[in-house]
Amino acid sequence: MTTAVAGPVYAADPPAARLSVTLDALVAVYHRPSGVTHLLAAPSPELLDALADGPADAATLRDRLAVLYDLEGDGSATIAARMEELVVAGLAWTA
C-alpha cells in the first residue's frame, strides 16, 4: 500500500498529558507538560484525540476522523490549518 505524504506529519503528547473538560461547544485543555491551558473548538480536540493513534499527516487525520464522524466542510486543507494552530499553541508538533 502506498501512502502519499503531501504535507507535514503531526504528533502530539498522549492523551494522559492533557486534562480536558468539555464546556458545551468548547473544550478546555490543560497541557500538563507546559502548564498552559487552552480553549479549543471543533475540530481541534478531535484532531488531538486522533493523534493518539500515532503521528499522521492531514489526510490521514481526516481518514481517522471519518471513521468516527460524518465530516462536514473542507478536508485536508482545513485540518492542516487547525494542526498549524495546535503546533503554535504547543499542543502538537511536526514529527
Binding site: 498552559v36 491551558t37 480553549l39 464522524y69 466542510g73 473542507d74
Partner: protein, 142 residues
C-alpha cells in the same frame, strides 16, 4: 472510496471523545473554514506561574549537541560552519527568549546571532531540552 461512512462507532467507552455525539448516532463534525481559528491560549495570571515561566532555561544547543553551531534558520551544524553562528555562552532564560522573539537583543548575547537563536527555539520539539520552556511562553500577544 476514500472513506467508509458505514463503519460502526468506535468510541463506545469514550464519552469525552465525541462532545457532539448522540447515543446510537454518529456525530457530525464540522471542519469549518480554513481561516477560522479554534485555539485560544489562556495566559497564566498567577505571579508564581509567570515567574517560573520566565526563569526556565533553554540551552542552545541542547546538551546532546553541545558545541554545534546554529544556522540562520535554526538548524544545528558542525562548529565553524560558514554562515552559522556560535552557540550562546549560557542557556537563554524564558524571559530572554521572549525578548528575542519580540525582536529585542538582551544583554550578554550577540545581536547578530539573535535570528539564528530565535529560529532554533521555534524549531524546538517535544523531548528536546528547552521545549517545555518554549511551550510555556506560547501565548497570544496583545
Amino acid at each position: 472510496m476514500a472513506q467508509d461512512y458505514d463503519k460502526p462507532e468506535k468510541n463506545s467507552g469514550e464519552s469525552d471523545a465525541n462532545p457532539l455525539g448522540v447515543a446510537g448516532r454518529r456525530g457530525v463534525l464540522m471542519l469549518g473554514a480554513v481561516a477560522a481559528s479554534t485555539v485560544v491560549t489562556i495566559r497564566p495570571a498567577l505571579a508564581s506561574t509567570a515567574a517560573s515561566v520566565l526563569n526556565c532555561k533553554i540551552p542552545i544547543p541542547d546538551p546532546a549537541h553541545s558545541g554545534q553551531y546554529i544556522t540562520q534558520d535554526g538548524r544545528l551544524v558542525a562548529p565553524n560552519t560558514q554562515g552559522a553562528v556560535a552557540p550562546p555562552p549560557r542557556p537563554i532564560t524564558g524571559d530572554e527568549a521572549k525578548k528575542m522573539i519580540n525582536g529585542q537583543s538582551p544583554a550578554g548575547f550577540d545581536p547578530s546571532s539573535r535570528e539564528a537563536y530565535v529560529n532554533y527555539i521555534r524549531r524546538l520539539q517535544h523531548g528536546t531540552s528547552g521545549f517545555t520552556c518554549y511551550a510555556s511562553l506560547q501565548a497570544p500577544r496583545p
